[in-house]
Assembly symmetry: C2
Homo-oligomer: 179 residues x 2
């Protein structure tokens, strides 16, 4: 499977901006103002966080592993960088920005990393030894985790509107369970 891991992972990463756009672009405002949990994120926050990760996390960490291996720890990553940076930017512009940054990241990835690099070691400041393969798989699962979070936030906008059916809707019950 080694020979297809990069292609598989890229196939997921390249489609996520389109998925986010298809899900959110033009969606009426009343859907968009709810957080996934009480101290969680709105859909807008999630797209901002995905932008931050393109800027500060994935490719910089790929670079660090290629340049320094496990000799230097990967830089910590600010999970709240979007809050000030994106204030007042419309959601559609944020999606454009994510799309543009992701395209650029994947071009860089294809230039920098080939199958032979997947076993290269890096050092995470808290998790210890990691590999390039772990990092790229985490990039994909991080996308899935946060885009799924958008669904919880959207569902939360209809929390009261579903009435008694809430009892059957796990996506709403799980929001409450984490509050």
């Amino acid at each position: 499977m080694t020979e297809t891991f990069l292609a598989e992972t890229t196939a997921l990463l390249e489609r996520m901006p389109r998925v986010v756009r298809t899900l959110l672009e033009g969606l009426p405002e009343p859907w968009l103002g709810t957080r996934d949990t009480a101290d969680g994120w709105t859909p807008r926050d999630v797209v901002g966080h995905l932008i931050s990760a393109e800027l500060d996390d994935w490719i910089p960490r790929v670079d660090m592993i290629l340049s320094h291996g496990a000799s230097r720890p990967l830089e910590p990553f600010d999970r709240f960088a979007h809050v000030e940076r994106d204030a007042g930017v419309p959601l559609d512009r944020l999606i454009d920005r994510f799309d543009e940054l992701r395209r650029r990241s994947l071009v860089t990835l294809s230039e920098l990393v080939s199958d032979g690099d997947l076993g290269r070691l890096g050092r995470h400041p808290e998790l210890g030894e990691v590999t390039m393969r772990h990092l790229l798989a985490t990039w994909a699962v991080h996308d899935l985790d946060h885009v799924a979070q958008i669904y919880s936030a959207l569902a939360g906008s209809y929390d009261a509107t579903v009435g008694p059916w809430k009892a059957y809707l796990g996506i709403l019950l799980r929001r409450d369970a984490t509050n």
Copy 2:
């Protein structure tokens, strides 16, 4: 908000087949074989279940509320109808089918239901009195719940591949917590 509820809800419902297609179409096979939880569903099962709900749940229940109000209980709905029906059907065909059925459902909805019908009562066999508005809101949140489930199933395919980073990936930790 009453006057925009139908438009808002339809805006979400009409895009979900496109969202599912953008997420899944052409995705390499190794992503697609995992269930969201040990006894859960693969992405294919989820699309099958969404097809079942278009066939047997939403519009039939709209009809029942319009025709019989709370005088007759809504029909129970088979959550596993897809298992035999869809055996051997390729995922892309299932997505086409969901898309086609959803379009048809929304045409029917627009013909049958207007703002004045949102307060009409129905009777759920277990949950008791419900309204047309509850039913339509539940349709939208049911979509969000099950499409989000696809993300958990996809993430599960990389459960081992993310290595130590799993400790930070809620979408993977939650899969384990429900097993």
